[in-house]
């Protein structure tokens, strides 16, 4: 069965996944450290929906509880969903352009690049706002772009990017950039808490402002990336073939890498470095629905959002009142999966 024949089926699954995501987000908003009952949390959420508010009476709502659900939990859940979606899309795209199933923004040091950029900007005290974007975000984007370009040029052999050189140059980049961040931290102890936040990855400091930064950028980049999904299919089967099929390979790769860097940078700027979502999610989606990027990219987006909301909810509620960094949770799932993939592809390359 081809994409053409299965389009109706894919659309149905996509709608179902969207629905599952929304239900999950509502459910996640009802659980947490503060003792708010499920029905009460639902009431608070419903009371904010413009139409339903007039139809159903929502009963008594405790004001403190409303603040907890609407101002603390909900922005955080939305941000987790956005970051999960963004990182998973980037993972899927990187795996396609590098023709390498092990590619991931975290493993390749792109996230570290973004965090080093952000840390530099913070250390320099450059927290101004420029055309709606914080300089921290811009610096983080430059860091991400810089590291992907270095990693790619070091890793490639001719037009191929072998797994070993790709992973090694990613690791080297990670080492280099983490030491840069450590040095920045060492010299800027007064801003330590802000920089540490970027290193560990967390959605604890979520607010509407961050959502407004990430949301339009993510939607815009994703639509653009999606418009290249058939080209990406062909590039993932070989660059020479892609050229012969009339695709401007270098240009397409550059555009996709820039869009991905923007997504990674804005994800890192709002939530710090969160590893492995970009690796695991596209793999799971591929296993279930095949490798066609026209399916893979939108599905990775939704499944990635679901994954991140689950991980962040675990991070919030596992050890109250303490909070586990969400990066630690994703790595607990991701690192073993990464090792499993290495085992699998090792055999192929021998």
């Amino acid at each position: 069965m081809t994409f053409f024949e299965k389009r109706a089926y894919y659309r149905l699954i996509f709608v179902l996944l969207m629905f599952a995501l929304v239900i999950l987000m509502i459910f996640a908003a009802t659980i947490g450290a503060a003792n708010i009952s499920f029905s009460q949390a639902i009431n608070i959420l419903l009371s904010k929906l413009p139409l339903i508010r007039n139809i159903i009476s929502c009963g008594y709502i405790d004001n403190t509880h409303a603040i907890i659900v609407l101002n603390l939990r909900l922005p955080r859940i939305i941000l987790a969903a956005l970051a999960g979606a963004g990182l998973s899309i980037v993972g899927a795209v990187f795996q396609g352009i590098f023709r390498n199933p092990m590619a991931d923004p975290y493993v390749l040091g792109i996230s570290s690049g973004a965090s080093a950029g952000a840390a530099l900007a913070i250390a320099a005290g450059a927290e101004y706002i420029f055309m709606g974007f914080g300089l921290v975000t811009i610096s983080s984007f430059i860091g991400a772009l810089f590291s992907i370009i270095v990693v790619y040029s070091v890793a490639r052999v001719g037009t191929k990017v072998p797994t070993t050189t790709l992973l090694l140059s990613g690791i080297a980049m990670n080492f280099l950039l983490s030491s840069v961040v450590s040095l920045i931290m060492f010299f800027n102890r007064n801003r330590l808490d802000r920089i540490v936040f970027w290193m560990m990855g967390s959605f604890a400091a979520s607010d509407m402002k961050r959502i407004l930064l990430l949301f339009p950028l993510l939607i815009g980049s994703t639509l653009l990336i999606y418009s290249y999904s058939r080209d990406l299919n062909i590039i993932s089967t070989g660059e020479d073939i892609a050229k012969s099929l009339g695709i401007e390979v270098e240009k397409t790769k550059k555009i996709l890498i820039a869009l991905c860097s923007a997504i990674v940078a804005s994800c890192v700027a709002v939530s710090g470095v969160i590893g492995f979502a970009g690796l695991i999610i596209p793999h799971i989606v591929r296993m279930m629905f095949g490798s066609d990027n026209r399916v893979l990219i939108p599905f990775s987006m939704i499944v990635g959002a679901i994954f991140m909301v689950v991980c962040d909810t675990i991070a919030r509620i596992a050890m109250p009142p303490l909070e586990i960094p969400v990066g630690a949770i994703t790595s607990i799932f991701g690192a073993p999966y990464f090792i499993f993939l290495l085992q699998k592809y090792k055999r192929k390359e021998l």
Partner: protein
């Protein structure tokens, strides 16, 4: 300009850095010709193929198709004119053979346009011709080398181009599939549907099927002509450095190259 002349190179040069790989190549390929490119390893066959299929961008005014410099065609125009089949294809992802063949329709589709029934029909026909229809739902990464090669050729047919350029397409195939593929390409040429340029190591296969042979040596065209002309013991000796005997194939009457092998 002779209208029968489809592809032509004029003084084509190519270097990888300091190393000169192609040195003033002048060839002409007629429409509906089945043209074989032979020569020892490192003689520049693959580089020539990549130049005329624009995988490598040739110098301006050195490769012409329909009398127009190929650098002047847009990517999309060119992809409707020339299809390229690489030496080997390794796909890491689980595309089905049908998906891969359908990619050949890409030059004809708009950015968000999915493949239509019409595209499916073209793909099916290409897969019947290459005997790969039974593989359509299998993952390309799980196919054997020969099956994969035939799927990639089906994709090139699906691209519906005037010219198909193939880089050693038969090297990975068994005898039966070698003959089947050569016969198919020959048939497409003689029906006037395609013009084929392929590099090939097997001199006798080239002799049996090709209309024209380009013999390359050290980045230059050593000789160019029909098999009877090219397969000459002296020329082979000079290019390949081995002694051969040229016999006649008892069935087709085409030259048959037999190397002298001394056993100690």
């Amino acid at each position: 300009m002779n209208t029968a002349m489809l592809l032509e190179t004029r003084n084509l040069h190519w270097s990888y850095g300091q190393q000169k790989v192609l040195d003033s190549i002048n060839i002409t390929v007629k429409k509906s010709c089945f043209c074989g490119l032979i020569g020892p390893n490192g003689s520049g066959k693959t580089t020539l193929i990549k130049n005329i299929s624009r995988i490598l961008v040739p110098q301006k005014n050195s490769v012409y198709i329909y009398g127009k410099d190929i650098c002047q065609y847009s990517s999309r125009e060119f992809s409707k004119l020339v299809a390229y089949v690489p030496q080997n294809t390794n796909v890491e992802f689980e595309f089905t053979a049908m998906d891969v063949v359908l990619m050949g329709r890409s030059p004809y589709l708009k950015r968000f346009e999915p493949e239509s029934m019409h595209d499916m029909d073209i793909a099916r026909e290409a897969m019947f011709l290459t005997n790969t229809w039974h593989l359509k739902d299998k993952s390309i990464s799980k196919l054997s080398g020969g099956e994969k090669q035939r799927v990639v050729i089906a994709r090139a047919l699906c691209q519906n181009t005037e010219i198909i350029i193939l880089d050693e397409p038969v090297s990975h195939l068994d005898l039966q599939h070698q003959i089947e593929l050569m016969r198919l390409l020959k048939q497409l040429c003689s029906e006037g549907k395609k013009t084929v340029i392929m590099s090939i190591h097997d001199l006798n296969l080239a002799s049996q099927f090709c209309d024209d042979i380009i013999l390359m040596n050290r980045g230059k065209v050593f000789d160019f002509g029909n098999p009877e002309n090219i397969f000459d013991a002296g020329k082979i000796k000079e290019v390949y450095g081995i002694d051969v005997m040229i016999d006649k194939n008892p069935v087709t009457g085409k030259p048959h190259v037999i190397p002298f092998i001394k056993m100690n």
